[in-house]
Each structure stands twice: as C-alpha cells, then as structure tokens.
Amino acid sequence: MTPSLYIALRFLTHRKRSLLLSLSGVVFGVAIFICTQAQTQGFSSYFINSTIGSNGALVVRSRFRPRYEPLMVSAKHSDGAVGRRLYFQGVSNPNEVMRVSRQFSNVVSCSPVLRGNVSARAAFETATVDLYGIDPALHAQSTDILHQLIAGKFDDFRNNTSSVMIGSRLAENLQAGIGDTVQLLAPNGEYWRFTIAAIARAGICSIDTTRVYAHARVAQALLQQPSGASMIIYKLRDPDRAPALAEHFETLFQHGATSWQDREESTLQLFLTLRMSVAITVSLIILLAGFGIFNVLTMSVLAKVKEIAILRSMGYRRMDISAIFLWQGALIAAAGSLFGCLLGALMTWGVSHIPIRLRGLLYTNYFLVTWDWRHYAFATLLAILAVFIASYVPARRAAELAPVVTIRGSR
C-alpha cells in the first residue's frame, strides 16, 4: 500500500460522518440512475420487442417505378430536386422477392401479408379493423404471434380457413370470445362470417384494438384484391441492421422497404427523449453528490493544513499530498459505485414487482424494467467522473500549500 493510500484511508475512516455523507450521495445517485434507466429502457424495449414481434423488423411494400438519371447535365442553377416516386399497390411477384431475400444472412424468415381495412361486427358491436391475410406457417416463423396468444389455439386457426385470430382489445370491444362468430364486411357489401379461433395480445394498443388475422386466400377473396401480398414482413437476426438492409432491398427489388426504426421513429424518439430527460435529472443527483464530496474534501484540506505541512517537511512530494485527497475521492467513488450498483439492482427488482395497470400505449400489469450491464457501467463512470472532478480541486489546493507559510502561521 502506498503511503498516500494509507494516509487517505486513515483520514477517511476517522471522519465517519463526512464519509457517510459523501458515500450516501454517490450510492443514491448511482442507484437511482440505474433504477430509472432500467425503467425507461424497460418500457422502450417492451415496445420495440412488441412492434418487431407483430409487424416484423423490416417490411417490403409496394413496387415503385425505377427512376433513371437524366443523360443531360442539369442546368447550373437547378436545385436537382428528386422527383416523387410513382408507387404501384402491392408486392409484385412476392414469392420471387422472398426467395431472393432468404439468401441474405441477416434474414431469418419472411412472410407475405395481404392487408386491408374492413368493418367487423359481432353481436351488436362494430369496429373498423385492420385485416391481415397471412400464411399461418410462415407468419408463425416470422413473428411472435405464437407467444402473443392469450386464448384459443393457433392450430385451430391454421386448420380452419373460416376462422380468424383477433386482437385482445378488439375482442373486448366486440365482446367476443373464442368460438364466437365475427362478421367482416366485404367491399361488395356482403358480410363474411368467421369463427374466432384465437385471441392475441401484442401489448401495443394500436395493434390489439384493430388487428384481425385471416388466411391469405380468404382475405384476398374478401378484399377482392388481385395482388397476392400487400407487403412482406421480415424477421431479422440483427434487427439493429434493418435500416441498411431496407435500403439494399429498395435498390434490389424496386419496392419500398421500411425498417422498424423508420416505421416507429416518432415513438422511439419519445422514449429516447424520456430516457435522456430522466438521465439528465438523475445525473444532477450524482453531480450534487460530487459537490458534497468537494465540500467535504475542501474542509478536510483546510482542517489538515498542519498535517500537510508536516508531511511535506518529512519528504512527501506535492504529488503525494494531492494523491492523498485523490485517493479519498477514488475510495468514495469505488465504494459508492459498488453499493450504488447493489442498491440499484435491488431497487430495480423492487420496482419491477410494483403492480401497475397500463392499458394505453402499452399493455402491462407491472412496471417494465430492463436488466442491462451498461446502466451499471455508465452510472459507475458518471460517479467516478463526478468524484474525480470534485476531489481534483481540493487535492490540487492541498498540493500547492506552502508548508513554511503554515508552520510560520502556527507560531
């Protein structure tokens, strides 16, 4: 143990009240930072997982007309604006698009969907619904639909073409359950009758209140659409790389392609803003703890000027003196971060067990949290940085004290 560390330890342990004060600031700052980040990211992750699980990480939609670059050089002052694309509804030759797509290593599976809005009626309730005509087997591979079922069986839906799966909130609104009949209104004004085989809960309100899944061929006939697929949804190995793949698919297939990041941009930005806001607020707590440590160490320097002078007379260098105070800060930061991380984990666990009935944007009965080591690393880094800055000034001040002035002043 270096002499500076030894003296720092002794200084710290003999000022128990100051030590506890400094330590508690760091511990609570780190713990609250971890807990709030776990919550905000918990809700954000839940939303991301739900949207990817229901709508895919990437969607290829309508074909567009290829835009050729003009052979003539544009006029000097022309703004070179790109003309708007001309889209054609639906995916042209979806089987070929899917066959080529599967060659990409990031693509796990893909599923064609024929989509349209229709009116649904059950008992005396009606609602406008988002009809998804799907291939059950492919859709089960490409989405989390199997995990989202809260009533009924997927096999009952797969084996019965006149059955549907509906969203949980829609089932509540239509007051319909498993085995009940729901009628969907075709564009020609004719009602088609379906049996509800399963009820799914994606956890996102906008999906659960509108989504109805039917067999693709049945949906095609009901919607009277010539196209076999309105879109193809993809499950990816690395959803974070979806934007790059979407760009590549657009060029390759001449179809519009949207990543989940682009699709949910506004909601994701809302979550990000919330996380940033909470992080800044909680960082202020750590900063305040830093001010506390700054005060404690500054007072310590003032109280120890004689000891500092005598240490200098015994051959301790300026850097040894500053190291004594930097070590004190480092020890507080290390212990504070350790206990803060433990308390943060405990608080996160506690918060995740607080019952909360959310039925708005998301569906949940408990606070949602994420266990992410990066929260702990970032909180620790923040604490170390704040404490280092807080202890640097007193340490430097201590090192610059002229021993002779102190000794003369004590006469």
């Binding site: 002499p3 030894y6 003296i7 002794r10 200084f11 003999h14 004689k306 000891e307 002078a309 005598i310 240490l311 200098r312 007379s313 015994m314 051959g315 301790y316 260098r317 300026r318 850097m319 040894d320 021993p403 002779v404 000794i407 003369r408 004590s410 006469r411």
Partner: protein, 235 residues
Amino acid sequence: MKPEICLSCEEVERYLGEEEERVHALRGVSLEIETGSVHAVVGPSGCGKSTLLYVLGLLDSPDGGRVAIESEPVLHLTDDELAQKRSKLIGFIFQFHFLMEDFTAEENVMIPMRKLGQLSDEQMRDRAAELLDAVGLGDKLRRQSRHLSGGEQQRVAIARALANDPRVILADEPTGNLDTANSERAFDLLQNLVHERGKALLLATHNPAIAEACDWIHEMKDGHIIDSQLRPTRG
C-alpha cells in the same frame, strides 16, 4: 582530523512578504554544521532563526546564496528532489509538534518511514517501538496522539524526526512548549543521539540553559549572525 561538514550555507539572503511589508529576514548568513555537533541559534523573536532553519531544511528557498548538504549544492534541485533529500537526510522538530491527531504514536513515527519505503511493515513497527521506547513512550505506542499530553506529543515528534535516521536534525524551539523537566529530558535525548550516533543538531531556542549546553551558540540579530561561540565544554 577535521570533522565532516554535513550542512552548510553561505551568504544566504531571504526576503519575506511582499511590497511594503517586505522584510529582509536573512542578510548574508553563513554557517557550517559538522557531524557530531549541537548548534544553538539564539536571538530575539523575528531575528531570522526559524527562517534560517527552514532554508537549511530545504523547506524554503533563499533569494540568494548557497546551501549544501554533505558538500553537495542543493538549491538547483527540483521540488521532488528536495523532498527526497528531506526524507533521507533531515529530521524536523517544531515547537508545535504537528502530530497527525487521528494516528497513534506508533503510526505517527512510521509516517516518514512509509515515505522512504526502505523497511517492511514489521521492521517499521519495530523501529517505531524502539524510538518511542527511547523517548520514554514505550507503553503508549497504540495511544492516539490527541490523547497524549503536550510533553508526550513533543517526544513523539522527536521520535518521528529520528525515524529515517537523518544526518541532520533541525529543531525550531523544540522545548518551547514543555515544562522544565520535559525540556531537559527532550534536549538530553537529542544531545546524546548526536554525540553517540554522529548526527548534527541545529536548534533555534530562547532557552538560555539549553543554549549553554550546546557545542556552538550562534547569536542572530536582524537577519545577521552577529556572533558564533564554540562552548568551552567542546573545546
């Protein structure tokens, strides 16, 4: 055989304070301290005794002149090199002992040894016990320094000054805060050490009895050494 000069200064000048308050504290002071000798610096308050000690102890830099330890000039050295010299060669004793009050007597004596880093923890403890025993505090090793009397604290400070076995001991009124009995005891201890172990002691004092017992008495006035006397006992 001529005794070895272990600490010397030549034509040392030192100004204290700034502008109107500037004081010429040392005016061309020259001094040689040889191994095995005890030197007393006497004079009225403000004559420059303590300033001379701080300059010789490398705690303060003079504005002119030369300082040498074991014939090696030291004023060109960096702050860290001077600290190294202080750690190895010089032991300080101050009137206000300046012990680390949260530390025990033993730990206080071990502080300079920790810095020098030449002994193991056990060796440091043994040496601290030996030194505290020599100053009559062998039974108070583990006592916190704030719980010691003034005389005991000064004796701890003496033991601490001797911890690294320095060549030179500089004492600024080391007995100024002690009663007569403790003063004599502390001085006897230092004097014996100097003569037995070949150290050098320079002390600033107002106590005529202690000054009379030294080998040399240097009288200072207004920043000058106006008289240096070798005591007959030495002669």
